[in-house]
């Protein structure tokens, strides 16, 4: 291992320009992928925030006694899809309407708005079909006058989410493929730059494993270096966008950032193994 480390550091020192070029190319390939990932992450977050606002409102008929409403609320909260249930009295409904629609606050009079049972669903149960199913169950209570949840709006939201998901996956795969191809070509270039050295190594009796090991370590280090640089560039870009366009962008979590760097290292190692293997087979 010590010999591999020594050979690798000697190889990197001998060709600093090529090393810098490799790391920069890997960094920019991953940077492009990182920017895409950041956009995808923020779109997903935005949609998730909208999705969290999905709420079913079941309006209670006037004159229904509080015990029946409380019993129904307890019953509803036991549904497996339900996250929370709030009972909103007529007074609370009025206060909410006046607060949300300030310009029409004079229009609302006491007793105009009905009481309601507001139901929020758990993540994973906010799709139109599930929401519709829960709404139907709420309608089955005899004292429920009407159930509303913005059906049209919810269908549009889910269509947008699906389009974003498929487009994101396709674009993500395309970006990843381009990154792998560029990184592979960069590593192949580094291997070819040392073709003479590799051929002499074989002639004097170095095993393929011995020849391969420093290249693998080199690929790993370049991948990690490129990954860290890409992360830094992505972060700096995010800061610029936030500063000049007044956005509040969400950055990758620590584990996602670590995964990105690990992906760089993985591509570096696999790319090196493929490039050296191909070269050794061709000798």
């Amino acid at each position: 291992m010590r010999r591999t480390v020594r050979d690798t550091s000697a190889a990197l020192e001998r060709s600093p320009v090529l090393t810098a070029l490799s790391v920069t190319t890997i960094a920019f390939s991953l940077f492009a992928f990182g920017l895409f990932g950041l956009v995808a992450l923020n779109i997903r977050n935005a949609l998730q925030q909208v999705e969290e606002r999905v709420e079913i409102r079941a309006f209670v008929a006037d004159g229904t006694d509080a015990e029946s409403i409380a019993a129904a609320a307890g019953d509803i909260s036991a549904f497996p899809e339900v996250q929370s249930v709030d009972i909103v009295s007529k007074d609370q409904a009025l206060a909410r309407a006046r607060k949300e629609l300030k310009e029409f606050s004079d229009v609302f009079e006491a007793g105009v708005l009905p009481a309601s049972i507001d139901v929020r669903l758990k993540p994973g149960f906010r799709d139109p079909t599930t929401v519709d199913r829960v709404a139907e169950r709420l309608r089955s209570y005899p004292f429920i006058d009407d159930v509303r949840y913005g059906q049209d709006w919810l269908v549009q939201l889910y269509r947008l989410r699906n389009i974003a998901g498929v487009a994101g996956l396709a674009l993500g795969l395309a970006f990843a493929a381009v990154s792998v191809i560029i990184i592979g070509a960069t590593i192949r270039m580094a291997v070819l730059a040392r073709a003479e050295e590799i051929s002499i190594m074989r002639l004097v009796g170095a095993t393929d494993g011995y020849i391969r090991r420093p290249f693998l370590l080199e690929g790993f280090l370049k991948g990690v270096g490129g990954g860290l640089l890409a992360l830094l560039l992505t972060w700096a870009s995010m800061r610029l966008v936030d500063q000049y366009l007044n956005f509040h962008t969400v950055f990758f979590s620590a584990s996602l950032a670590a995964l990105g760097v690990a992906a760089g290292a993985f591509i570096g190692v696999v790319g090196s193994a493929a490039a050296v293997g191909r070269h050794l087979r061709g000798l």
Binding site: D7, I200, M201, L203, G205, Y210
Partner: protein
């Protein structure tokens, strides 16, 4: 000669090599090289000299027939066995094949470093062989600071540093002027005199005529003359 000498450190038994595109490179070639022997391979370009040399260090394998080098045979040799064998062979080329970004001593040390020789042994071994080839004073020179003859001496030093039992030389004087040729050939003679077998491919018939060594002449992939074998009747 001992029994081992007679059986040969290198044996070619009815070796044929065919390439899919260029056709037959060697046809039913058989010969043996004894321990400490000096053998010239001669013949026109494309006669098969380099193919024979590449087979000795297992860069090529026969299409049919068998090559044996110091107990390693072409039918069963694994990659690892080939690597181990090459550590006991010395190989020299017409174009020297030195690493230009390294000094003479670094080029020689390279052959030891990649074969996991302990670091403490590398320095003394490199000094010994550079002295042997007459380049002790140019140990720190880069290859582009050396003449062709000197570069070939560095290549020979690199080939010698693992104490090979055979030195394979493919046109080692092909790029050298007459004076450098004489110098390099004299060095090869000295190496041979110390017990290392040498198989040398060459076009330089003057060199062959003036040296009293075994000569194998090839033409179109076949041995047409071997000075160690009696000439056929009417040949």
């Amino acid at each position: 000669m001992s029994a081992a000498d007679v059986s040969g450190v290198i044996r070619f038994d009815r070796v044929t090599k065919e390439y899919p595109r260029s056709g037959t490179a060697l046809q039913e070639v058989s010969f043996r090289v004894a321990k400490g022997e000096f053998v010239f391979l001669t013949g026109p370009s494309g006669a098969g000299k380099s193919t024979i040399l590449r087979m000795i260090y297992f860069e090529e394998r026969p299409t049919s027939g068998l090559v044996r080098v110091s107990g390693v045979n072409s039918e069963h040799a694994s990659k690892r066995e080939v690597s181990k064998l090459r550590r006991r062979l010395g190989i020299v080329f017409q174009d020297f094949r030195l690493l230009e970004d390294r000094t003479a001593e670094a080029n020689v040390a390279f052959a030891l470093e990649v074969t996991a020789t302990p670091r403490a042994q590398i320095g003394p071994k490199v000094s010994r062989v550079l002295t042997q080839v007459g380049l002790a004073s140019k140990a720190t020179a880069y290859s582009n600071e050396l003449s062709g003859g000197e570069q070939q001496r560095v290549a020979i030093a690199r080939a010698l540093v693992n104490d090979p039992f055979v030195l394979i030389a493919d046109e080692p004087t092909g790029n050298l002027d007459e004076r450098a040729t004489r110098g390099v050939f004299q060095l090869l003679r000295e190496i041979n005199a110390s017990g290392t077998a040498i198989v040398m491919a060459t076009h330089d018939l003057d060199l062959v005529r003036h040296a009293d060594f075994r000569t194998i002449e090839l033409n179109r992939g076949q041995i047409v003359y071997d000075s160690a074998e009696p000439r056929a009747e009417g040949a």
